[in-house]
Symmetry: C2
Subunit: 448 residues, 2 copies
């Protein structure tokens, strides 16, 4: 079904052994990471290096002039939203003048959904990883409206929604967490997989389980002054099955970060998108992002939209795939078809194909419909190239005109993986013939 062993010659026996040992250590760190949600607080108060004039956005870092289209628009609108500029034009001027700093979420332990915009006053989930130590952050879901800042849209409704997150959702969650104490996310995520989520494009069960975790706290808070705020938050949970995605993303970032930084490991510890590229990082290759073309889309479009209407404006929720969720667990989520198309048989086949490029089966993220087999986890860039198969990513699709226009599978090509592997070989002296490895991928079946 795939050409195996074609590229085994890429690595010497010695370097191959070293890589395998390193990957085993890296994936073990990923699997034993234990993220807890400990607080919800404004980004300025908790995100390291975040100033009042910082704006974060998804993807490998770019220079300001490289941000284009919807992602650039989102950053500019964020400056207006935050009160750093009176208009989009003023925001442009202030950024160029260095009065506003635009940086990547990944430079601040944050993870961004689609454009992934963070401003200083936005509330963020604070997730502590308790096995190795470390903190990650994700801001809050804007709600089910098609138009959101993170999908390149900005108007009075978008602004009001963001303000509500600051004024109501953030404080209520923070108060509730003071009553519940830190909430371990991994057991809840494992359970959500038994209830039909894959925790990237389907989060209905996670949202229900998270809400249950807070039910007693909500009840207690209702007795206090902010009864109306609590009622609004309860209603938001009911209306927004996607709410838990942000908890899942923050947890995925924590797990992936735990696996990052193991010398000689070729494990993929991050996948991100910005307006220019898809990019990955490897555990053993420091903070470098290796870029390639944007993924192919295999999507279901809302209304009359089509592939030509889609625009890449960023996205880092594919960290969920990095830790064995999303496309790597979609056999757990048959109902996802209704959202992103495809048949269940195809979803299951896609999911099973991911075992080919993964170094482990997750001990906690089990897939009931695969008779409780652990999800494939830990993407080895070498296996990706050897099989000619790239990770399949569940994702939402942004439109050129702003807003979400569909959902589906995102399938990167080999470019970013090849680039990462070439640098890996150069750094770790694999005595690989990288030209040969590029050639040989041509003999293999392409990514699906």
């Amino acid at each position: 079904m795939t050409n195996t062993n074609v590229q085994i010659a890429m690595l010497t026996t010695e370097s191959d052994a070293r890589r395998r040992v390193a990957n085993a250590l890296a994936v073990e760190r990923m699997l034993s990471a234990d993220p807890y949600l400990v607080d919800v607080a404004p980004a300025r108060d908790v995100v390291p290096g975040m100033t009042d004039a910082t704006i974060l956005t998804s993807g490998a870092p770019l220079r300001w002039e490289e941000y284009t289209g919807g992602q650039r628009r989102s950053v500019l609108n964020a400056a207006v939203y935050e009160g750093l500029a009176d208009s989009v034009q003023d925001a442009e001027t202030a950024i160029v003048a260095g009065q506003i700093t635009v940086r990547s979420t990944q430079q601040h332990r944050c993870i961004g959904s689609v454009a992934g915009i963070y401003t200083a006053s936005m509330p963020v989930l604070v997730v502590e990883e308790r096995t190795f130590g470390g903190t990650s952050f994700c801001n809050l879901y804007e709600g089910q409206s098609r138009y959101k800042l993170n999908y390149g849209a900005y108007d009075d409704e978008v602004r009001a929604g963001l303000r509500w997150l600051e004024d109501v959702m953030g404080p209520v969650l923070s108060d509730a967490l003071k009553l519940t104490g830190p909430i371990p996310l991994k057991p809840m995520m494992a359970r959500a997989l038994r209830l039909g989520d894959e925790l990237h494009s389907r989060n209905t069960a996670g949202t229900l389980l998270f809400e249950r975790e807070l039910t007693s706290a909500f009840a207690e808070l209702r007795g206090t002054s902010n009864a109306d705020a609590v009622a609004q938050v309860v209603q938001f949970f009911r209306d927004n099955d996607y709410t838990f995605l942000r908890m899942s993303m923050a947890a995925a970032k924590a797990m992936a970060d735990a696996a990052h930084g193991v010398a000689a490991s070729s494990l993929v510890t991050g996948m991100v998108i910005n307006c220019q590229s898809f990019a990955i990082r490897l555990s053993g290759m420091g903070d470098q992002w290796f870029t390639g073309a944007h993924p192919q889309l295999d999507g279901r479009f809302f209304d009359d939209f089509g592939p030509g209407d889609a625009e890449w404006i960023g996205g880092e929720s594919c960290f969920t795939e990095v830790v064995g969720l999303g496309g790597f667990a979609q056999a757990a989520a048959p109902a996802l078809q209704a959202y992103q198309g495809g048949s269940y048989e195809r979803m299951r086949d896609n999911n099973c194909a991911m075992y080919e490029i993964a170094v482990a089966e997750h001990p906690d993220f089990l897939i009931p419909a695969l008779d409780f087999r652990g999800s494939p986890v830990g993407i080895d860039v070498v296996e990706v190239l050897r099989r000619g198969r790239t990770p399949m990513i569940d994702g939402g699709l942004a439109g050129r005109g702003g807003g979400q226009i569909g959902a589906g599978l995102l399938i990167p090509d080999l470019e970013a993986f090849q680039s990462a592997f070439d640098s890996y070989c150069a750094r770790y002296d694999c005595t690989s013939d990288s030209a040969a490895s590029s050639d040989s991928t041509g003999d293999q079946e392409g990514p699906r």
Copy 2:
């Protein structure tokens, strides 16, 4: 795969056409039934014909001397629990003397889980069927302890649990329902199928969804005097994923009852078990129960228990199968394997086999893993005999020593179905050769 058309000769063309029309009407009533949970109240206050000295129990009605083993013990213990007798011996005397009346749940629009014991003071769910009118009842889940009155056990802990349902759970649910208003159960059930329930042996999602429906009411009630009671109920929901089974059962009873009483319909509108037999009723055959041997067990046993430890002490939760849930929707519930054994492939095959004996596909109960095909619904006794295939029922298993000892598939043989069909033919003048029909079943593959 099965011998088709072998028994088509059983029915004349005319009677076959009449039956099909009648079944179409009956199943249409089943599918358009719309059950709402309207209240929770003590049985004596709402169940028609329930007196302070009435005890109800599962299954086709029996004379007192026919109740044996765990089911008999449960009835006697219920009399002691209710204060109708000081001891099991006194209860025997009182029943024989006619001071305590023992009747079938089915004679009172109730539905019983396992032994299905109702006493006058037990709180019951009151479910109104709003399309055709009608009310059904189910009492409350005793909790996850293996030992329960409905599983033939009775001790201080069982008694305390039942008392808690009366004193805390019942009143809190009743108060909450006054705040929420009537709760439509069918949309919640349809949604639970998308979240991995089949609503007989897996009710985790239903329980979460039901709890969410009450979250605001719980919060409001916490501000009142009974804060501690509400906290206990919230904890019960967290601890007991099976809670929603009783809502599902009451709804199934309402849907099945809506389809009952259509002249010439051979649709199965009820399946029940008591200590003596498995029994079914047909829509067009009035209140008569047609009995056969107890089902075969294909189960997973807890701890060191085995098939020889199982005892039939009653059960009517197989009404869920009657309305297209449970074994008829188990492809929706891959995680159920962990509880009752089997592989997911087998569960899916079992589920699909039920289409052979069903007259419709449910318009609301959709199975995501079957690409949102509606569950098979409306068991036609003629198709059961024609295919030699009986309904597959998900169920819990009671032990001789009291308590639950396992869970699995219950597979009745053809006896009850043959008996029902013979009577149907006699009443509706099908000019069928019933001896021939008995013979021909011997040529077919048996129920799996």
